[in-house]
């Protein structure tokens, strides 16, 4: 290969150097675009960087040597810049990597399933409970909890259950052994509802109170499709000056819409709980049929979801023993409670309550 491409350099001023080096740069760039395979790369390398006949070698031996002393430094800098430029082009050409055919040999079946790092699933009860708590937190409710083993006082007496009330019977309530000799109010049992935390909260905090209480409860129930000796509730309590029944309605209507969608309607029925008066059962319009009537709502268009009511003055009287500000003449409030399993069963289409407590991987995995 001859290097007639490298003319002798006549002008060593800036303009002359610009023109000479600029020309070589443009030329290298153009030639680099024609590189398409490994052989081309090698050819380009030899033409420009070859030790004996490479153009840069030529430039070095002909221009540098010919340069007058005062131009040598400027020329040297430009020479190095050109060399880096050409090396860069070569790197870029080399970085192009293997050929298409080489790549084709590396083809994989992208239709095989992806490898999955499986994550765990939160329990549907935890998930539902957290959703309910979040709805009420947004309404200004703090979160409270209480013990699962309670005294008769907190579970029944302070919640205004009369002595001899059927719920106090061991047929309905699981009790700790060896309580017979103790005063009734101190007897230990597994709380049958989260309501005792209402009293525990009021004893600690004067009004106003807004609290939502998620928790596990137990009853002496034989297990069937809809009953389990273990289940969960979320209880709520709101006490302040001038809390009225219409506030209870508004709060629960809002909460049900937040939980089940804004199209959901609520309606309230008189009911009976010892610790609230007036008491109500709340139904929501069926989330499956929108209220038209289906099998899930037994054609009624409504689903019963929770119990609630205005806090009974007798309950306030118990609270006032420790916090006199719970004077039923001055303050009022409402309480509500809902079964988490029932809501989760409805939301996720679960037919057997026992599935929540069986630890079946196949069941739990559906909630990942």
């Amino acid at each position: 290969m001859t290097n007639e491409a490298i003319p002798d350099l006549m002008a060593f001023d800036d303009a002359g150097l610009d023109e000479a080096f600029g020309g070589l740069e443009r030329r290298a760039r153009v030639e680099a675009t024609f590189i398409s395979n490994v052989a081309d790369v090698e050819k380009f390398r030899l033409e420009w960087l070859g030790r004996k006949q490479g153009r840069l070698n030529e430039v070095s031996s002909r221009w540098l040597k010919a340069a007058p002393p005062e131009a040598k430094k400027a020329l040297g800098l430009r020479f190095n810049a050109l060399k880096e430029f050409v090396e860069g082009l070569l790197d870029a050409a080399l970085g192009g990597g293997p050929s298409d055919s080489a790549l084709k040999a590396e083809a994989i079946d992208i239709t095989l399933p992806g490898s999955r790092r499986l994550t765990g699933a939160e329990h549907p009860i935890t998930r539902t409970m957290n959703e309910i708590v979040a709805v009420f937190a947004a309404l200004g409710y703090s979160v409270g909890v209480g013990p699962e083993v309670e005294t008769d006082f907190y579970n029944f007496e302070s919640m205004n259950f009369p002595h001899g009330h059927p719920a106090r019977d061991t047929q309905d309530t699981l009790v700790v052994a060896g309580q017979e000799r103790r005063p009734v109010r101190d007897r230990l049992l597994l709380r049958t509802h989260t309501s005792p935390v209402q009293m525990r909260t009021m004893e600690l905090v004067p009004p106003p109170v807004r609290i939502v209480i998620p928790g596990k409860v137990h009853r002496n129930d034989a297990a069937d499709a809809t009953h389990s000796p273990i289940f969960h509730q979320v209880e709520g309590l709101c006490v302040d000056h001038n809390i009225a029944f219409s506030d209870l309605k508004g709060t629960l209507d809002h909460a049900m819409k937040a939980l089940f969608g804004s199209a959901v309607k609520t309606r309230f029925f008189p009911s009976f709980f010892p610790f609230t008066e007036p008491s109500a059962d709340v139904q929501i319009s069926c989330i499956f049929c929108g209220g038209k009537g289906c099998r899930k709502c037994k054609q009624s268009g409504w689903i019963e979801l929770l119990g609630c009511g205005m806090v009974d003055p007798a309950v306030f009287a118990f609270a006032a023993e420790k916090q006199p500000a719970y004077d039923a003449r001055q303050i009022s409030g409402f309480a509500f409670g809902m079964g988490v399993e029932r809501i989760a069963m409805m939301k996720y289409g679960i037919s057997e309550i026992g599935q929540f407590f069986a630890g079946d991987m196949r069941f739990l995995g559906q909630f990942a």
Binding site: P147, L188, P208, P270, G359, G365
Partner: protein, 709 residues
Amino acid sequence: MKIITKWLRAYLPQLAVDDAQLAEDLTLRGIAVEGIFSLGEGNGSVYEMDITTNRVDAMNHYGIAREAAAIYGLVLPALHFALPAPKPAAKPFSVQIEAQDACGRFTARVLRGVKIGESRDWFAGGEVASYFALLQQKTISNAVDATNYVWLAMGQPTHVFDLDKLEGGIIVRRARKGERLKTLDGVERALFEDDLVVADHKKAVGLAGVMGGWDTMITPETRNVLVEAAWFDPMAVRQTARRHGLHTDASHRFERGADFDAPPVASALVSAILLANSGWIEGELVDVRVAALEERTARRNPIALQLSEVDRILGATEDEEGITAATVETILTSLGCGLASQPPAMGQTFGQDLWLVTLPSWRLDLEREIDLIEEVARVYGYNRFASTLPAFGGGVRSLPWAEKETAVRAVLLAAGLHEAIGSSFCSAAEAALTAPQPGQVVPLGNPLSEEADVLRPSLVPGMLAMIAGNLNRDVGDVRLFELGTVFAGTTEKVEERMALAVGAVGSLPEQSALHPARQIEFYDVKGVVEQLLDRFELRAVYFDRFPREAGITPGWLHPYRAARAVADGVTVGWFGQLDPREATARKIKGAVLVGELYLDRVFKSALRKPVAHEISRYQPVHRDFSLVLNEGVAWERIDRALSDLHIPELVDWRVREVFRDARLGEGEYALLVGTTFQAQDRTLREEELQRFQARVVEAVGKAGARLRV
């Protein structure tokens, strides 16, 4: 309970709405109609009712007619049954109430010349045959049916005796020691001394308010009867019924409070039905009352009701007008209350409406002002109240450990464990095996079963049960955790703590078409525990194990594949492989990994706050050391030796491989340890590195390792 609308409409002929509308209106007022079934042309419907236990007064046809009248503002005529004039008696039938605390009223009427036979429709208001047919209630005899009819009509229990079997008059008293009574169900009963009985002068003839006696019952031969209609105290009846394991219609009503004023009316209806067939009345109605009990029931003191209180409790209505004084008066009057206006008391604002309300004898559930407010709300209609949201100005507090629980759960979920909720109970044997504090196990007084007779002291039994359940269902890959309460202490004082259990068997949480699954092993669980503890601000976490003889390792763990986790000097949990003997006992195959962490202890530490460190700009240098160790030398020794070097530039070291092969000496194994050297402020020079390496070799040598050459 069943209600037929034909009967209802007989009591309230002005009722204009159809059966479906009536059912809905009743339901919305708390008198729940659960189902409506048409009985065919002209027969109306039968309602299946579900009435809350506080409303026993409405568990009968007249009671529901009263509710309907209140809803529609109609007037319900009082019940009245005309009886023929009695023939005079030689002397009044003798009735004595000895148990003055338990029997408030006892009425007795003597009927003679009656004829026991089939029931018919006797007169208007006495349509026994046709109403029973609609209710699909079997007729038995005119006498038995008469008492049942009165029960269904007005909810008052009554009883008829064969008068000729009674010896002397009636005494209501407590049972005597050793007294016996054969009741109508044919059971011969030994009576308890506190039992309330209806007796004649010789013997008990009935458990008062619960069930009549066998020997004095009506037979086809009966000619003369005594009609009993009475009021018994709820507690006395409840205790008597409970002691004998009986629950009857009568006891149900008396236990919840009967109507003190109802007995004469009920007696009249029973008598009218019997006399419609044959017979006459002898003597006037004997009606013995106990004033103290009458005052507590039918003649209670009126209670004050204030309109402003109604507003305060109930709030806004959808109707602009709201609940007016007229609304309150109309509703309460229709329910049988008497309202007397009261002038405002001293200091009260002029114009405040205040009433004194007298209470109906059949509504013993009404005792306080709030009870009346509830009645107003109920009859007015809950769904006519507005939906308002109370103003709120406070802050919201979450549980102090909520954030920690969330952090723990996040680690576990990311590790591929599903959250489970197991039983709160276990057997005493499982409790003995797993209780972290031996002996602190709390038994239940009325356990669900023998296998669930104590409160769980540990989450491990439940976890093992769930693992076994999965394996039994042929689910071989199990990865579970449970966050829950465990119980300790005594039956006097139960302590509750929060614990975490993890359990796993089978393959890792990875699903790949290309790579074989790897079995979960001890180190996978240890990794989860480490990651979890890493989330907390702990100065020192280590894991240790004990020789079997030390008796420290929990019995459920494989003695040589178990570790204790210690954080800042406190035991925070145990984990490892389930003792294969326990696995066999539970029919579990395969190496099950299980552990329990005492979260109450872990949660005493704060969550670790991430702190960013300057990342060195200088090149790290990696050096591997191939070590040969005696089997008795654990990694921990090497690890500590490297740590004790305190070389700031030794920024990381880890085990890269553990292997055992034939080229090693007897009882030896090899570790490939990777180290990383890096300085914050300079590139490390070769001679520095040489010095560090030499120190590493010396340290591990002292710890019992030699370099493999």
